[in-house]
Symmetry: C2
Subunit: 186 residues, 2 copies
Amino acid sequence: MRLYIGLVHYPVYNKNREKIASAITNFDLHDLSRLARTYGARRLFIITPLSNQHKLAERISEHWTSGYGASYNVHRKEALEVIRVVDSLEVAVNAVSDAESGRPLLIATDASRQVERSIDYQRTREVLASERAVFLLFGTAWGLHEDALKMCDFILDPVEGETDYNHLSVRTAAGIILDRLAGRYQ
Amino acid sequence: MRLYIGLVHYPVYNKNREKIASAITNFDLHDLSRLARTYGARRLFIITPLSNQHKLAERISEHWTSGYGASYNVHRKEALEVIRVVDSLEVAVNAVSDAESGRPLLIATDASRQVERSIDYQRTREVLASERAVFLLFGTAWGLHEDALKMCDFILDPVEGETDYNHLSVRTAAGIILDRLAGRYQ
């Protein structure tokens, strides 16, 4: 499986549908890196143009990968090593393209069901099983901005539960989606 | 579906396999209440004997259900209303028994595969579909203490991904497990 994950802090929407750069959240880095590691994703890109946010992400990451935390909790070290902090979506796509010798299939996640370019879980599993490289994008704040969606080849069907309530955190939604795409169980 | 969820802060293990009461985490309350609401769980019990932790959980909950947050973000209000903070696992089980006029099936989650009393996802889905009340327990910190596991009828198979790495956060694991038990998708 050649799966890459991107957590996008820019461009995303805020509550008022304005384009913003959101702040990095410590819990996102831990939860998503542990998730990436569990399901065998090759890299987790943290995407933000803000240089102070780069420093924050790197400080957290270094604490657990080479600082005191590395010996305190080896599982966190193992997980956080999967992280790369980059300036933009374009830089992340280029990094995946270089590693895989070709552009990956870019799939966005979104809480709304799409009319165009939608892809379901079964089809995405098949793409992953075919060893095509896939770069799966998650938006923070109120979700991926249209400018990010436009760059993507497909938009994955939303997670829908038992009810019409559909406001999962990115940490929870990412877990559900990775399990649907790469989980094995009975 | 008659599903109840419990987030157990006592009794759980710490890193050194000692029995402790863990601290409440703001992110757990938000992520798990939104998850419970999405999948139609009837109640999320936050289980801790520490009175200062009760106050903390209630302050967070009140901010979003009747304070400024209730008008700022109605989706959080809707989610957090599913929470009840209780002193012990026994109190939570009694509350579910009263609401459902009978003791629920008590199912623990654990990161290790069990030799005895294990139950798989398919069987648990069938139990839920049969309208039997189920109370699903998640441990914080290093997982549910043996004293809590002993009270349970079954222990759900662990979440396993593509790799042998198995250290998901409770927020992510709970999302994956609820989707496996109550999700619908293709």
